[in-house]
Symmetry: C2
Subunit: 166 residues, 2 copies
DNA sequence: ACTTTTGGGGAACGATCGTTCTTGACTGAT
DNA sequence: ATCAGTCAAGAACGATCGTTCCCCAAAAGT
């Protein structure tokens, strides 16, 4: 019973991932969300409870859609060059912003991204047969490269000076 | 002529570095600034023009006070382990936030942090006698470690698998 | 002593923030 | 045909945002 929704919840969440991944949490207003996601204010609050609620759903979706596939691709990697290339070129804008900007202010976000990064570390450690410490360092290095916009040759130069590791 | 200031501009800017380095730009309100910096609203606007003006001054001060000394310490470094340790343990909270959160929205901030990171790269390249590409990768890796809160053993594990480089 | 200049105190501005309310349109079940 | 329940449209809420105004206090120059 009742009227049918005029918006697709999946599309809305994906679009929210794009918006929140592009600028800071406080830089995205509810007006922005309503305008760009194509749903009404009421529907937003009915469906997600609050702006933060939508953000959390978008973050989890980002991790499920963009991070899990990355971890699966990493499982097939056999050297650190591939790992660095895969991680630093992945679409992880929202994760990066979440780590730097939201996690310090929102412990639910902090728990989410900590677990996500840990699973990334584990995937790398398993794929290359290395320690989780070293895997965590590789993840960190890749995120750092991503953060700097992958300066030309940096990733290549780094892997050229890394041991075969495994 | 005129009345003397009841606040120390240096102290105010340093305190602003601390505030802006602790949470996102939009997460620091003018009320927060006025309360924690110990100067009046009027004085803030008289002295710095706007919240953004104070932010820019604080950012430049952060780079001058915290990044330049780091570059000087780096000049004495002879191996990548020292570089990673120095950079990843430096107090670069504001720089990190600026890169991830403000630079995409404020091109003056973007120019500032790009130049700062480039000078860091150059200092590392000069100290170790390596290419700027590799130095940029080291900077990125150190920032990534810093971003993850320097997980135990990660930096050590990474350097153990790096060539002597030079 | 008087003027001039600058800084601090505090209220207030319009704009925008996230959120909620009211109303009416739509649709499936009775 | 009627009812119950969901959604959309849009105005409006109080709170907070960055910024400005007015007034008086304090100190330097004449």
């Amino acid at each position: 019973m009742g009227r049918r929704r005029a918006f697709d919840e999946d599309e809305v969440v994906r679009a929210a991932v794009g918006l929140f991944g592009g600028r800071a949490y406080d830089g995205v207003s509810v007006d922005d969300l309503v305008t760009h996601l194509g749903l009404h204010r009421n529907s937003l609050y009915k469906t997600f409870g609050s702006k933060r609620g939508l953000y959390l759903v978008a973050l989890r979706r980002h991790l499920a859609d963009d991070l899990r596939p990355l971890a699966e691709k990493l499982a097939a990697a056999t050297d650190s060059a591939t790992v660095l290339r895969l991680v630093s070129s992945a679409d992880l804008g929202l994760l990066l912003l979440a780590v730097v900007e939201r996690a310090p202010a929102d412990e639910e976000v902090a728990a989410e991204v900590t677990a996500a990064l840990a699973s990334l570390d584990q995937a790398i450690a398993d794929a290359l047969g290395i320690s989780t410490e070293l895997a965590a360092a590789l993840t960190a290095a890749a995120l750092g490269l991503r953060l700097r916009g992958n300066p030309d040759g940096a990733a290549v130069a780094l892997t050229q000076h890394l041991d075969p590791l495994n």
